[in-house]
Amino acid sequence: MSTLRNFLIRKRGGSRIDITDALTYLYLAVGTLVMFGPVLWVVLSSFKTQAQLVEFPPRLLPYAQETIVVDGYDEPLPLYRVVVDGEERVLAQIRRVGIEAHMIDPENPPADPARPTDAERIRVNINDREPIERLSLALENYTEPLEKFRFATYLKNSVIVTTVATIITLVINSMAAFALSKYRFAGRDAVFVLIIATLMIPISVILVPVFLVITQLNMNNTLWGVIIPGAATPTGVFLLRQYMLTIPDELLESARIDGASEWRIYWQIVLPLARPALAVLAIFSVMWRWNDFLWPLIVLSRSELFTLQVGLNAFQGELQIQWHYVLAMTVLTLLPITAVFAFLQRFITTGIATTGLKG
């Protein structure tokens, strides 16, 4: 109990390393492994060849067998370490017959490659040879799907959806927040209550009718159909309104006296001052849109319009999963978000802690 209890208080006294510290760091170390480990494993796996991926038990790093080009043979020959007559030699395999491998000495190739003599051809049991390997990244996992499949298109669609949706979200939500925080007008409170009330109504509850609206507006199977419905996010209006309330009204009044129009007050005074809140909303919008799955899955049925998430899902749903491609594309998909996280993590974490935005 005494070991556990220091955990539970907010601050520990003294600076001596005691058992509670040890437990704390143990927890943190295990946590780091559990949180990062799976992602790291996928990154490592994504550089392995197809043959390596089915190897069990798997090895940590990606390897490839050393090969050598020998005169008279069309293909590069795989190299093995073999013990012959108590002497360790490096040999190249020319063919395999059952459990027997036929090897030659690459240093001393047969005079006639088509018909090697018995002295030149060394017969080895396949269990007595050991492949010579080196670290090697199977970069073709990354390049091939970009050529063979539509991943470049998916990537482009995801970038378009994320960028356009974020810009629209920022513009219309900041305008609405400006109206709700800086004007008095009939129905203002009603509008605000309405927005708050729908704060928690997710798209999964209104899938069918929104799909109907989209179809009626001819936005089915278009990127606009993905972008527009989520643009007027109540969360965004709420966040920006709360922030804009802190901008002093006197500032706006003096601008009005100087003859500034309402639109000019909006873009030249309010927007620059609301930059921190706009940045938080922008980051979240990018995350939401980049990761969005259910709604694009419903709207987009033509594969040239797929976003990365929908494309990745379609790809992994095939009967024979081509893991070497799927893993590489998974890494490509998580890369941008990881980069955003690496640069802005402090910003994001304080943003969530203060606004309670859902991630």
Partner: protein, 350 residues
Amino acid sequence: MSHTPRSAPIAKRAQLQPGDLGHLVKSVFLGAYNALMVGLELVINPLQRLVGARRMAYFFLLPNMIIFGVFVLFPMLLNFYYSGTTGTRLMPQDRTWAGLANYEHLFRCGNFSQPNTCVEDMFWRAAHNTVVFVMFQVGGMVLLALVTAVILNREIVARGFFRSVYFYPVLLSPVVVGLIWKWILQRFGLLNAVLTGLGGEPIQFLLDRDWATFWVILVSIWAQMGFYTLILLAGLQSIPAVLYEAGEIDGANVWQRFRFITLPLLMPTLFVVLVLALIRAVQVFDQVFVLTGGGPGTATKYMVQYIYETGFANQIPRRGLASAASVLLGMVLLVFTLVQLWLGRKSEAA
């Protein structure tokens, strides 16, 4: 906006500095922004002269309200009507009004605790699965998040780093989360390698009903825990240190300090976290859809997947039924939301 100070040394000006590119990009963006906004003034300022400055509020509200009205509010109302119709056509005017028939169909059940006895057994399987998922996922996650938050709140080395460690999976897309774990849990995956390495037998985790349920819950905790940890951590940090000092002077031991200072003061945050997690868990779909596809059989099929399949993915979509199911799901979420709003009001008043 001049970006190069006049006094800058000539030698520096001659070469392009790394910072200059940033300035260039920034000033291009700012220039474009200013030009666009001034251009818009040509259209908007006459409007202001027409309607007056005060009514401009409606203008600012308009774009948001149109999208909100068309894509959120109207569909919400339409959903109620739609759930009362049957037919195979999409447009409401082509469908037949059937009153409460869809709801009756959903609720025609011999025994609600046994999906087999229901006409729409899939709905009830999904409902049962969702209840189990919500209980274990929310319970386990909130507990773990609390423990993690308490630990992260201690005076530890590299607190910022560790805080972001737990947060990182929150940012990953559900599809990516599903794929990562599918790769680890497969027959020849990392986990089975560890298991056989320790002398055990490999397990087909995703082909066994109980294991699949277990992993779906664990993966969802893994993916979302960091978010709630962060909120709880903010709650912990807002507790004044003076209280602990006072408690110590009064002779309260460590457990008592946690029990009588930390816990009561953290309660409002804890409740908010609980409700947020509940709302999220009830809608579980995407990472599970990728990880198990709802299988094996129907073991991990949840409510949103039922709605998606009934309304969209199945050969013959039954959209009226999907609509009715989503209205019911919406009711559950509404209750949670009201609880949250009520709690929010209470903590604001306090």
